[in-house]
């Protein structure tokens, strides 16, 4: 077995406060399908955080399901979604978006972020009814490459979307780490203002499971529970998701957990930099991509779990190291020590 796995941020279960809340409320009889008191409380906590009482909030078991439901609800049959070619929906959802009938127009974006210019270029290329009609822009924060959107990035993108009648959707599987990154100047309230729909990821930030989808654009809220039901996302015991998000948002635990993950990654990154290794993208959140000699990767991989991300030149490769709310400081230290003596 490994000394520690840096494979991902969902290797452990849930933060103990969430398990405790689950246990404490276990015998309360509640209504089904997210009409329970825990979900209602979680909705209110989230509305308060995003400073938008009019936002609709729904709880969905997982991220792929959230993305497919959200996008399917926003698109007419002939409409498409613009995304980075590295986007989760474009690569790692087994064609879930296409299975709802929609094309993804991919854009090459080496750092995982979309720019207004890239979006406009797609629009210019789509001229008539022989092609799909791009209607939604998909972004993630943090991105698949650990990078983040700053406030100015998001505002610029949002303005272009509104000017050209595009909806803006944000995949927040790792939103906690995105918002609490050292370089971030974005808040949940900003998202609610600039983004039409986004989700606050629970699974990768200390919950057992569950994502909170926020619909800030009122035009997109009507009849949304039909979409949830049709795709099997209305759980009979929706209370499970409600209690997770109550736990995450009642004492800012959500942000504390993300900060811990980011701090662990930063610690790791600084230690790796101190050893003189470069990075594929500048470390910003809880996913970092150091470039290491293949020989060293081989020896380290006997003791630690992580993915080799990309073959580089000179017998080196970028690896992905992911920290989480649960990463113990001593495991980071141990990794760095082993790397030094690798």
């Amino acid at each position: 077995m490994y000394k520690y796995s840096f494979y991902n941020d969902y290797s452990e279960g849930a933060h103990p406060a969430l398990l405790e809340l689950l246990t404490r409320t276990n015998y309360d009889q509640e209504h089904g399908y997210s009409n329970d008191s825990l979900c209602l409380q979680a909705v209110e906590l989230i509305q308060a955080q995003i400073q938008n009482q009019q936002a609709a909030v729904h709880f969905i078991p997982g991220g792929t399901q959230t993305n497919l439901i959200a996008l399917a609800s926003m698109l007419r049959p002939y409409e498409s979604v613009i995304a980075a070619s590295t986007a989760h929906i474009a690569v790692h959802e087994a064609g879930a978006i296409e299975a709802t009938g929609h094309k993804i127009n991919t854009v090459c974006a080496p750092d995982g972020k979309l720019t207004p210019e890239q979006v406009l270029a797609v629009l210019v290329d789509h001229t008539d009814e022989h092609m799909v009609k791009p209607a939604v822009v998909f972004i993630s924060n943090s991105t698949e490459l650990g990078t983040i959107y700053r406030k100015a990035d998001l505002e610029a993108l949002s303005r272009v979307c509104r000017q050209f009648n595009l909806l803006l959707y944000l995949d927040g599987a790792r939103l906690g780490c995105g918002l609490t990154a050292r370089e971030s100047d974005l808040t949940l309230a900003d998202l609610s203002q600039w983004v039409d729909m986004f989700y606050i990821g629970g699974t990768k930030n200390g919950a057992l499971m569950g994502e909170a989808l926020v619909i800030s654009n009122p035009n997109l809220q009507e009849h949304f529970r039909f979409h949830l039901k049709q795709h099997g996302a209305l759980l009979a015991k929706g209370r499970l998701m409600g209690s997770q998000f109550v736990g995450l948002f009642q004492n800012n635990l959500y942000f504390d957990l993300a900060r811990h993950a980011n701090a662990s990654a930063e610690h790791l990154a600084q230690g790796i930099m101190a050893l003189g290794y470069p990075f594929l993208t500048p470390p910003a959140t809880n996913q970092i991509f150091p470039i290491l000699p293949d020989r060293l990767i081989e020896s380290m991989s006997q003791f630690y779990g992580f993915y080799v991300w990309k073959k580089m030149e000179d017998n080196c490769s970028a690896v992905r190291l992911v920290t989480s709310w649960a990463t113990p400081g001593e495991k980071v230290e141990e990794f760095l020590k082993d790397l030094r003596f690798g």
Copy 2:
């Protein structure tokens, strides 16, 4: 608030043994997407129960999602599924099956059960390529009306399916109660023999969430995880479902919980019968449908949660009372006492 809710069998959380297991394994680092040690152990426990080591077993968050994935995986684009007009997929899944592209051929079945004759009648009606081609028969056990299939029923249906090249699928949302009903002579091993695909419902039998889909027909097993992923059913922390089913099957807890629910319903039914009230369908499992005077229903509904199911003659209605693994004996007593003095 109610003295007690008989609305359904998912009003409480999970059996404490499941929460305890969850907590105990919480910090173990596991692989994601149901490749964890808990899911693997749960698969083995279920294979042992069904006496079929070749069966594939997958864990899915909820019942609608399970049904839509299972049926979509079995059907070619032009094929349809035969079901009772009261079937969950026909009425209560917001068009989830049609959303995957498939028609449901409904059959009027007052007790919720399908017969070989009804299936054959649908086949006879579908003669050429101007119509859909029925390819799967959908049943549930227990049914939406609380009734059950006995071994002879299931064998007869299965034989007709095999003879006419139809697949047989069983929705086991309430399979525990179906199999442990007093009148039942069916086992999980029988199902594995006579049914191509079925699911063992966790949510309605004491789990926090999760259904275990069993694919006993080897021809239907290949590449199944792609179907799961495409519909968002591969949870990053699949371990959550794995641990539930380990807990349910390691000491036969699954059957004990179902027996408790059935016994509670039987107790309730006998008390109601003793008061002279008739039933819409003969009580058999944890859903019972007594026919009560509307005036009595009105007074009881101030203290107890339950659905009015169907308006009957003479100012009476059938109501649905549902018991669960968590129903306390004293609440049943209290209900009966209140009914007596209604």
Copy 3:
């Protein structure tokens, strides 16, 4: 070979005037995809006939394709369409509507016509997001059973639809015969007023192929060509359909051809009645359903093509006889003579 086939109204090719127009315009260079001068002229002719310059008109190769595109364009993913259980979309389109993701809520309607009460009953049954949301009412005129809607029928249905925010769609595969039936008091202009979308069938009324879809509700017109293209209905040589409809509507040929078909059927029906045979539904258009002794059916079927529609009591069956724009009077006479001496 048969003396004559009464199987259907598409056994012959096209009315010679249409072939002549096709040939005359053959070498004109035209724009593709229904942007040609013939389609434009046909649109204007139809707008004039329906007395609605704001209506959008599109040409589509066949009826099933028209129905599936029209309904898919009107429905949100969770919405359904209400139709008679005998409707073409419910039985004879191989699941085409479901393949676009939508459920059909069927209503038992022995004469093939829907009433406001039947529509309301479906609405009452659909109460929440666990079920689909009915959003469109589908009717046909004439119906699958040869019956027609009178003006009062259509108005009543339309008023209920508007009151309950349902769209009304009319399948006009046999609209010519429906509107020119002796009992009909409806016009194309009435349809444009009371129906949101409908099609004027060409294939079954003398055209080589092609249906003209009329979108009278302006809210449903936007971006419609995307729907056409996505389902493969934008033909490169859309001119073929344009020229058919120019031919059909420039001298009222459309109505003349339908009147001929109706008159032939009426002639046939009167001859059969004179022999004392009853009918399944009162003869009204070009499809009639006399009930004949099985023995007589057997002998007649050696000389004439027709479908046995429904087994009746006393060794009799209803058969379907269909006349068309091309049915020669002498063939009707010959059939009646043979029937008399059958």
Copy 4:
């Protein structure tokens, strides 16, 4: 109006022999839905041409419809199709393939042709159930850029497909021109041997409308008419398509028409080359892409219809000129003369 339109190869109607056959058979009573004697005869003629009596042949109104039906019939829900990024299905079908639920994996192919290496690279990238599973390779001949596959190209691609269990599909919208190109050494019989499914395009080679889909792989033939019906491709008067293909294949007219189109394009290309202009891709079939000064394009476009394809450097652009079965030699001469004195 233009002196002549080189916009495309479907600006005129049909070759007069096809109209003549249509008229001659117009009053014959035929069975509907391509069960008529003309379709049967066309199937036999095509089976003879491809030297494969076991091939199934179906007639479909248009190319986009053919592609979407063919691909949907070949793919399981989680499977994808590999295509050039310029492929018709990837750009110009309004998301028709995605609307059937499937992703297209695009490959950058400047000349519009796919190589075995490109196909293998896509396979290597798709490793597990988090991604789609590539299952079909889509090519066209001639391609969107007028280029062709030679026998060795096709064999190499086909061998790789068979080795890796991929199906090979060929879009033959312009197959006539592809096979009769001066450089081509391929025959219809070769296609039937090396390709699992392909279509012989009628619309762009002298027919009023209609494409003949050939299924040479017997495993893909079963129940195919259900697919046709479900997508609205079974026309009631399928005879129209049957008669077109009888006309095209009874005297090798199909190849004669394509040769005329190619010869016209070659004439045009040689004239343009003689004036010293370069080409975007080497002229091979009836679509040629000369690079002309923008000033000259502007003046020529007042008199001739054609598309500007791509902006090039030095104030030049590539234009697309398309010839057809109907292009008169004198129009080519006139174009060249005007170009010379432009």
